[in-house]
Amino acid sequence: MLKIILPTIMMLPTMWLSKTHMMWINTMTCSLLISIFTLMMLYLPNNSCNLSLNFFSDPLTSPLLMLTAWLLPLMILATQQHLYNNSAPRKKLYISMLVFLQISLIMTFSATELILFYILFETTLIPTLIIITRWGYQPERLNAGSYFLFYTLAGSLPLLITLLHYFSSLGSLNILTMTINTKEMMLSWTNNIMWLGCMMAFMVKMPLYGLHLWLPKAHVEAPIAGSMVLAAILLKLGSYGMMRVTPMLNPLTEKMSYPFIVLSLWGMVMTSSICLRQADLKSLIAYSSVSHMALVILAILIQTPWSLTGAMILMIAHGLTSSLLFCLANSNYERVHSRTMMFTRGLQALFPLLALWWLLANLTNLALPPTINLMGELLTILASFSWSNFTIMFTGFNMLITALYSLHMFTSTQRGPLTYSTSNVKPLFTRENTLMLMHMAPILLLTLNPKTIMCLTP
């Protein structure tokens, strides 16, 4: 694991000491090389690497680590345009924030101990807050940053207290030894509150339907790298945390999870329906993230092998797809400086290649077979149907509405008559095409071999 963490830390001096004209090239190259290192975790003996006391790798963490490492070069590619007018130290500061975030994320996903995980979980908030509030576009970003910070902090303080209590009663919060602990959580008021304390932080982060207010604000107001990392990785921190913490909470999860299952089922349908009425493109993608994550919450709370596999696949698939959608929305924004969907209509006639990326992004978003999005949704929906037949009403309806708003997004940006105001927009640069390809290629390749991310032996 150190082979990933140390190069990421050393990216900071590499970048600060490089010349201005080599800055982007150096950071891109370094981050791409680091992402190659994470591929080494795929074919380990026994599927896990436990060479250290502090960091380890596991079929649950390795897909997320690969996603995190793959996303840093993509973020750096995406931000070159909007940072163009900033001075060189400010550009370097932005990339430092991204690298700091990357360090904390890599350490979060590979932490052995839950307290280390918690500290790094909180650490990821700071660079994200700085990116949103300093480099966002509208004055509403201050509000967005405050909502993001305080929602997550308020949810995670009980988690700290609960983890410390557990540490004192269990003796160790090592993830590997937690799977063999014999202390079961029986039904009692204290244990109920402990369950809530453990889970609320991750519910806020995911986000669950009632606590999702920070997400549309933060996603919309953040600059492109902020939106990408929020949608692709930070939401998955919540689900990863839930999957790590639930082994200690059995068998209470069967009783306590009902309100959250109901909230995630209803929230899926509600947030998908809201997507149909959005005028703002980024807001639509943000609400679609809430809807997909509600499916992941459902999968994790049901706690069957199929649903946990489905959750894992959904996490990776949604990370790549959502990030791709935000990149496409950003390419729109950089040309017309407006997030309104109706402002750039009929782009298929002008930019066919961009239309191809939009089509692929929307098709994967609506979980077209045989993409991994469908595989994840299929496993989750099957598991939830077997859990209780009634859930198919919500999950089926949600799949329908997801298809509706994805196609609505596609037809309102690509099809139809051109708007007269888009006469002088430039087509996609090579950099942007590379960015879209680098998002799409993993999705297409994983479609051919999904067992990589299937987390079959956590």
């Binding site: 009902y258 109901v262 089922l265 209803w266 209780s388």
Partner: protein
């Protein structure tokens, strides 16, 4: 004149056609094939299809005159602004601006009233409580079924 017992030729002629818009009975070959116009909420009966076209009551006549006066005043104000040689910008209809502002700013001008809050609570929490009970009932049935039916998976022994 009676040809056959019980049949009146005039009546035969009257029944051999259909009345047109003016009320005259015309032969079937001269029937104009419009469907019957049924007025609805958004497509009211136009004055030309109204049978009482020229029998307007005094009240409705006064209302028509009043509406015409308002329209004429607005048109006069518009034409004054439109043909003003010193005008540089758009002719703005303040009513339209107010309507657009009202449509876009519903949320900041909302206030929590008892009726509002009750509606919000019912629509916000009601479905959740309903789905909770339905899901819980279904789950109890599922668990009961799962625990009574013996499951054998690929040759697992059933104890």
């Amino acid at each position: 004149m009676k040809l056959v017992d019980g049949i009146n030729i005039t009546e035969l002629f009257m029944r051999s056609g259909t009345p047109n818009r003016a009320g005259v009975v015309v032969p079937w070959v001269a029937k104009m094939s419009f469907p019957k116009y049924k007025p609805s909420r958004l497509a009211t009966l136009p004055q030309t299809l109204d049978p009482a076209e020229y029998d307007i009551s005094l009240e409705s006549r006064r209302a028509q005159v009043e509406r015409l006066a308002i329209r004429a005043r607005l048109k006069r104000e518009y034409l004054l602004q439109y043909n003003d040689p010193n005008r540089r910008g758009l002719v703005v209809n303040p009513a339209l601006v107010r309507w657009a502002y009202a449509r876009a700013n519903i949320y900041p001008n909302c206030r929590a009233t008892p009726k509002n809050s009750l509606l919000g609570a019912v629509v916000g929490f009601g479905p959740l409580i309903l789905w909770y009970y339905i899901l819980k009932t279904d789950r109890i049935l599922t668990v009961a079924w799962r625990d009574t039916v013996p499951h054998q998976l690929f040759g697992e022994p059933s104890f």
